[in-house]
Structure formats: structure tokens, C-alpha cells
Symmetry: D2
Subunit: 293 residues, 4 copies
Amino acid sequence: VAIVLGDNRYGKAETHLLRVTRRDGVHEIRDLTVTTSLSGDFDAVHLRGDNSAVLPTDSQKNAVHALAAEAHVGEIEQFALRLARHLVAASPATRRARVQVDEQPWERIAADGRPHPHAFARTGRERRQAMAVVDGAPGREWAAAGLTGLELLKTTGSEFRGFLRDRLTTLKETDDRVMATAATARWRFSTLDVDWAQSFAAARRALVETFATLHSRSLQQTLYEMGRAVLEARREIAEVRLSLPNRHHLAVDLTPLGLASAGEVFHVADRPYGLIEGTVLREGAPEGPPLDW
Amino acid sequence: VAIVLGDNRYGKAETHLLRVTRRDGVHEIRDLTVTTSLSGDFDAVHLRGDNSAVLPTDSQKNAVHALAAEAHVGEIEQFALRLARHLVAASPATRRARVQVDEQPWERIAADGRPHPHAFARTGRERRQAMAVVDGAPGREWAAAGLTGLELLKTTGSEFRGFLRDRLTTLKETDDRVMATAATARWRFSTLDVDWAQSFAAARRALVETFATLHSRSLQQTLYEMGRAVLEARREIAEVRLSLPNRHHLAVDLTPLGLASAGEVFHVADRPYGLIEGTVLREGAPEGPPLDW
Amino acid sequence: VAIVLGDNRYGKAETHLLRVTRRDGVHEIRDLTVTTSLSGDFDAVHLRGDNSAVLPTDSQKNAVHALAAEAHVGEIEQFALRLARHLVAASPATRRARVQVDEQPWERIAADGRPHPHAFARTGRERRQAMAVVDGAPGREWAAAGLTGLELLKTTGSEFRGFLRDRLTTLKETDDRVMATAATARWRFSTLDVDWAQSFAAARRALVETFATLHSRSLQQTLYEMGRAVLEARREIAEVRLSLPNRHHLAVDLTPLGLASAGEVFHVADRPYGLIEGTVLREGAPEGPPLDW
Amino acid sequence: VAIVLGDNRYGKAETHLLRVTRRDGVHEIRDLTVTTSLSGDFDAVHLRGDNSAVLPTDSQKNAVHALAAEAHVGEIEQFALRLARHLVAASPATRRARVQVDEQPWERIAADGRPHPHAFARTGRERRQAMAVVDGAPGREWAAAGLTGLELLKTTGSEFRGFLRDRLTTLKETDDRVMATAATARWRFSTLDVDWAQSFAAARRALVETFATLHSRSLQQTLYEMGRAVLEARREIAEVRLSLPNRHHLAVDLTPLGLASAGEVFHVADRPYGLIEGTVLREGAPEGPPLDW
């Protein structure tokens, strides 16, 4: 039986750059980490070591730098799209390019009560993300946006009851628990005609506010409602994927220490953790790209 | 337009346990990290917060502990299969269970020239991995094995020439470079009637020896040949997936320091890095599981 | 020649807890990671395995939980002091207790334009820190405060010129560079009669504003001025220690790509990095604690 | 009251290099991470931004590369000493240089049953370490060696009983527990006339064998005996410092699962963990260097 090459892709991962824009003594910065990935007709290099179709990953890194320099960077969704188009054009064997851009946020330092023109402090642990997939064929371009590391916690308004019990179930039901997560969310657009900044802000707000305000019977319900809120907030979004680790906060039993256990001190556990993953989408949404997004 | 629930799954991630077996004063240990994941008919919990079909992730953790205690753990592929079958049986709404088991290796300490009966030192940075997917329907069980963190390096026998040049290409061709990677590999079995330990050892050896002995024209070629060697070594393996970061080792130019640059000192770069991913499979191989493996 | 026991200490590291305070339906949270360490007359346990003087690290963890539950937690400097006093009292062999408390910041989620009463989002990558050392003898108590992970960056207002050149120096002088760091700072108090919250806020502000506004000729100068600003801002602080990694941002040379190199795109390097460490103190400041702070 | 500069130092952290030596087609590799640090008369740069005495950290990195290229690298203790001497000589203001070298171990791949001449696999999670401190004055040179990340575990031969109980103590005594650690050890030499490789091997063996063979009443006792064994094995070592995290392995109570709890399944806890630190030294040992080692 013959042995054959299946799916494959290659690229440059985690090109980390700072883009500075100076205008009348006021500087703007963008802190970006970019990963590119190409797939297409690359049999020759795999089977025979023939590199003639291979655009080096070093050139892909150069492309990241050049596109960051050439034009206004814009929102990261646009930058990802531009870069993906460039890579498809630069490499004839490439059928599809996938680009992921992570943006690390900074804010202007306030000094003497005024925003400083060129000094910044890093804010937040969360990264904004954008992805673009560009296929050679016309009209086959996709964009997604998202975020990772969004840490959320609520101290009440969360229960977990009425679950299935098998012979190994020892968990007690609770009608009031701490619920905490570090969300990763990604949403896919059904169009590329989007006000990216406004869309991101609204989607993020929908996620955060739903987590806060929904009385949660389970993390699955919270996941679904978070996804639904994004879709209801923004028509241009076709589908939302969420990954919600359940960061267990276990009430410490203080009675052996001679104290009342009033649910005030919680052990924050590292591992194991629950992991809830799901997709919420618009019925009949246009299909997504052929590469993982 | 209606909003609907798409793909979803949930489980307990990274239950980390040590299993000790004692026999006549000689102890064996297994250091395992287990992640479970269930998917199936879970609309009620997502849409209405109705938990009646939900086997808690805490019970899944208990199942890991119970199965580790009950029986001889055996090879991790078997343990993953047993656990996946248990979870499907324990939870009627579950159509498919996916279990991943990572094994962290330890070796017996030699003291006074003899293997010590109950003292161990951790070896290696690499983790052996197994995955099982069990679908409720008869005959629908799959297993995969693999490893992650396999760091390999060769100081010659690697070139990169004749590649595509676009207007942004600045990379020089080289007929002799350091090539280094930290491989993640995963291979899927076409049968469950396997001598797992022997199979793993042979597959791992095929990966390592191919990396060492192949004169490499590109990391893609090395990837393909590593996968092919696994398939040629073991008939029970249908498909191999490899992810090979290219850990760039850049020759330091010593001439500005007044020294000959003889290719003896290399800067080990962290980021960015090349990332080469690909699949090698047997033509006509039976299809894999419906969940990512 | 005899072999003897030298300096030693033991304790419980990284007890991670969440403290919830509920008042009229509005919840406050504190997310703390606490490390305790005891030293004193512990020869018996080291030399003979006699544990009779050893307060278990498990009991130290219980003490963290109990003190977090019993009283208003207060500022972390106070909590560290209370805990250190408790540990000295609970363990006769202990001559000195050292406690470190890290606080991870959260802020209230705004939902429907209002601060939510019980839902929070994690902010910032920076951790506020406090340390207390309590010696059994009267008057021998010390406190320190600080922060770690304070990421700062300025896009101009930083030069590095006129440095020493040896035969291996290849660095070019620059009168305009990006300067970035992730500061760790710790300051020691000469008194315990302090408004801790106000003191911390003022010290942090002095660090950040000095980084922003000082025209820097070197990171050492910036370090000194940051320390000096803290001491000038707060009389109760005797000494400041700073550790400033120099996160190199290297201007990408775009001319090989056919573009003008206008200092707009920078490669953010991971390793190696410069590391500048120093102490700034008030002349004649009272001595610090006998344990590392 | 005047504000003054206290202790300070600066250098280049984590220069990561691979040194390749080729002889008759057989290659040797050394994978080193080097951190340098200078202290001395650096008031001018801190107080006035006058860099004229400052050897750039970039030049220190160049020195690492040049010394790695120039000579046989030798054992890392020697390399650290040579580099520290070079830095003191290259920088008049430097009174003391401190160099730390970490070595990441690789072993030759066996292919076709023979050691391969130029292909290697990374082994172990442990790093060998060396430190040198060189003071300008004659005879003031010190070396230390050590290791970090040495993971050890024993499944019996460890108890913890007869400890102090205060009102918050809930821990049960045990006469048989799993004991596990990830040791960091550092030992200081009383002479520089040492067979470094042999000394390291013997010291490491003393640590590992003592951990294995000592019946432990507490981790403190194990720490002391590990240090003592090093000193007894090697006359050239004056002092040993050990840091031993207690990686708690908690027996899972299986009785609620309907199983006998035979001490066979253990939960491996991440945090909190015990942390035991101590020094063992030869009475009257010559003093160590004025910088932290």
C-alpha cells in the first residue's frame, strides 16, 4: 500500500513586533505577534526535498515587517487580511494562507495628570486576536476575531444542581458558588465589510456583560448565552466559538479550625479544571474557511 | 434567523495522578495526566441550564481515579480506551468520549550500584501520549499514540537551498546548517489489537533515527520521511501527524570581534520560529474518529 | 572537620485564596497568594529528624486561611504582619517569620453602565506585593511593599551614548531608542505606622511617572531616579530595590526590503536581555531585617 | 536627609548559545545559557547618566560569544571563571564580576545501534549550573557548581510524625508517605584546583543516592543529609545550599467510590507546596564571595 502526503502547512510563528507611529510629537504604538501559515501544492518539497516552490519562512517574517512598515497598520483584522493576500500572491504554490495576529494592549501613562505623548504601560492579561484565511479563488476570504485570557469571576449568581449521578458521583449540589474562567473566544464574520474596532468592542462587551448578569445554572448555559449575545449584538458575525475553563474555587472548610465556615475563604485550585467548549451559530450561516480558524 | 448550538464538548482537564504498585517490596510508578471530554446530546444544558444529562466533570475525575485504582493500569493507550468506554457507559447523553493520557517518565535511581526498589528520578522532557475516542455505536473505537517535547538537533547533514525568492526574500542559501526541533507526533491506529509498548518504542525509534540519518534538504522533507518511517515500521499505524518547530540556530558572525567565524558558535533564537506541520498516511487508510485526535 | 547546619528556613509557598466579603448584596473580593517561611532553632529536625519543634507547613496554610477568615483582611502589608506575628507566636522554636503576600488585581465589571455588585474582570499583569518579617524580640518587625510585572515602554526620550568601548564592543551609540522594561520594585518602610494604600499608590505613581518623564541616558539612570522619586514622595520609605530587565526593541532594517527604515518597526527580542539591578536609600536609614526582603 | 545609591549590578542575562566542536567528522555540542553581572564604581551612570565607565551589556554578550569561540569551552565552572576574569579586565570600574552558566544536556542519538556522529536528543529536565565570582584583588576568586530541576520521588521510606501541633493543626501523622521534590542545589568550592567534571558527578550522585536510601523523618532531615553527603564525598566543597520544594502527593480517598483505599492512587498537587531551604557547611570553611552565589 502506498504511503502518501496528507494535509500540511508551514509558516513563521510568533513574529513579535512593535510598530511606532509618530505624529506631531505624539506617538502611537501597536504591539503585535504574528503567525503565518501556507498550504497548497507542496508535494515536491515533502517528497523530494525540492524547495523551488517554498517561500522561506524568513521571507514570511520579512513580509510581516514590510507590511507593518508600508501602510497604516489599521485594525488587526485588516492587517491579517492584507498579509494573507500578500502571501498568496507572493507564492504561486500556495492555495491558502492563514494569518493570526495577536495584539497586546498598552495604554498611555498619565504623568502630571496628562496623557504622556510617548510613554506607555501594559494593560491587561488579555490579548485581542484576529485571523484571516485567504484562498486563491475569488471571493474566498474569511476573517475572524477574538480574544484570549479574558479572566472573569462572579461570587454569586451561579449554581450547579440536578446533574446526572452515576455510582462514582460524590459532588454535592450547590445553589451558590463562585464561578471563574479565563475565556478564549473567537468569532467568524460573514462579511469583510465591517467596522472592526466597533465590532470587537461590542462583541467583547456582550461576552463580559452576559457573564456578569446571567444567573448561571451551569457553565454550559453561560457559554451558550455568551455566544448568543455576541450574535445578537452584531449581525456581521456568523459563528462564535468559546473555550471556558472552569477555574474551581473551593470553599475552605474552616470548622476544623474552630471558625464558622461562612463561604468567605476559597482555595483557588490549579488542576484539574473543568473545560467547557462550544460553538454558537446563526442557522444557515455561510460556511467557514477550509482551514482551522 | 435562529441562533443554534453547534459542536460542543466538556470534560475534566489535567487530572494529575501517581499510581503506585507494590510487589514484594519493589514499587512501580506511573505518573499520568488525564483529560476527558464528552460530546453528545447536550442541548438541554446549553439552552435551558437543565443539568439532568450532565455527568459532572468531578465525576469524570473520580472515574480517572477509580479506573487507575481498580485494575492494572497497563499501557496508556489501553487505559485511555477503558476510561472512554466507561464514560460512554456512565452517561447516556454522551455519544462520544475522548480521553487523552500523558505519561511523564521516571526511572529507578541506582544506589550502591543497584536499582533502588522505591526511589525514582524524573527523566526526559518528553511526554508519551495516548488518545482514545469511543463512539456509542459498535466498532466505533479509535486509538492514537504519540509524544510531545522530543527535542532533536543535528549539527550538519541539513541544507536549505533552491527555494523560491520573492522581492522580500533576503535569506541566504545554505548547504550546511544546524537543524533543531521539539517534535510533537501523533499516530492513529487502524486496529486496537496492538502490542502498545512495542509499537510505541518502534515508532519513536523510527522518528529519532530518521531525523538523525536523513540528509535533509528541508524540514518538510524530514517531516515526511519521519512519518513514512513510522508507517513502514508498524503496519498497525494508519496515519502520522507531525508538528515540527524549526528552532533557528544562527551562526554568530565573529569577524567584528576579530575572530574567524568558523560556524562554531550559534545563537539559539526563541522567536520567531518556523513551524512545519504535516500528515503522512497510508493510501486508503480507514477513516479516523469524528473528534479531533 | 565537623559538618554543621547553616542558615535554613521552611514554610508553605503559594497558598492561593480568594476572600469574599458581602455587604448588603455588594461583594468585595481579594485574590491573594501567600508564602510563609520560618527560621529559628531547627537543629533537631535537620540533624536527628526530631519534628517536635516543627509547626507543619500544612498548619501554616491553615493559618493563612484562618487569618483571612477571622478579620477584615485589610491592606496586604497589614495581613502579612498579622500572619507573621501569628506564626512566631504559634511556634516557640521560630525566631523569625517572613511572609510574602501577592495580590492579583480585579475590577468590577460594568454592566448596563453600572458597576456590577458581584462580577469582576481581572486587570493587569502586575501584582502588588507585601512582605513582613517579624523577629521574636520586641520592636523587631519590618514591612516592605512592592510590585512585580510592571511593564513600561517609551518610544523616545531614551539614549545610550558615550559608553566604554573594549575590543569586543560593536554596539552603536544611539540618541533615540525604544526603552522597555518589566519592573520589579520593592521598598522597605522605616515605620509600621503607615497608610498602606495611600503609600502604595504614591510609590507606584512615582515609579511610573519618573519612567515616563525622565529623559534617560541609560537604564541605570532611570533606575536611580525611579528609586529617588519613591523616597522623595514618601517619608516612611527607607530604601527601594529595583530590578529592571532591558527588553531590547531592535529597529528592523527595512532597506534590504526596498523600504525606508524610519525607525517605525521594531523586533521585540526575548533573550538575551540586559538586567539592571540597584538599591536607592536614605542615608542613615534604619537597618533592614535579617532575612532577605 | 540625603538619598544615596546602594548595592547595584548590571549585566546581560540568558545569552543562549550552542557551541559545536568538529573533529574528524564527529561533532560535540554544548548548549549553554550565560548570565553576566558587574558591580563596582558605577555611581556616575546612576547619578548623572554618565556612561563612560559602562561596558555595554551587548559587549558582555559579545564576550560570551568570543570566549565560547576562542578556546576549548571546557567544564562550565572553568568557562564561568574565564569569562568573569575577562569582564573584570575589560572594565576598569568593575570591582566584581559574577557569571552564571547553565548547561542543558544532550546525548548522542543511537542510530542503527551506533552513536550518531552529529545527531543529538535532549535529555533530562535538569540543568547543570556553575557560578564564578571574580573580585579585582588577587586571590579573590570563587566558584560554585550545582543543578536545578532534579526531580526525585520515593514511594515509601518517608514519614512525618511527632510534629508540633497548634490550635490550627489538622494534619494527620503518617509513617508512610510519598515524598517528592524538584531539587535545586548549589555548592561552593574552597579551592579552584578541582577536577570539575568528576566533582560534579560525585556531588550529584551523593545527592541522589542519599535521597533514595535515607529513611526520612522529615524533608529537613533529608535536606541536611543530602548536603552532608556532598561534603563527605568531596573535600573541595565548603558549603552546600539546597532548596527542596515538597511536592505533595495526597492519597486519594477511594472509599466514597466503593473501593478500598490502599494508598495506590495519589493526587499530585500543584499549589501550595512546602518549601524547605537550608545550608550545610564545613565548620571553619573559608568565607564565600561578597556577591550572592
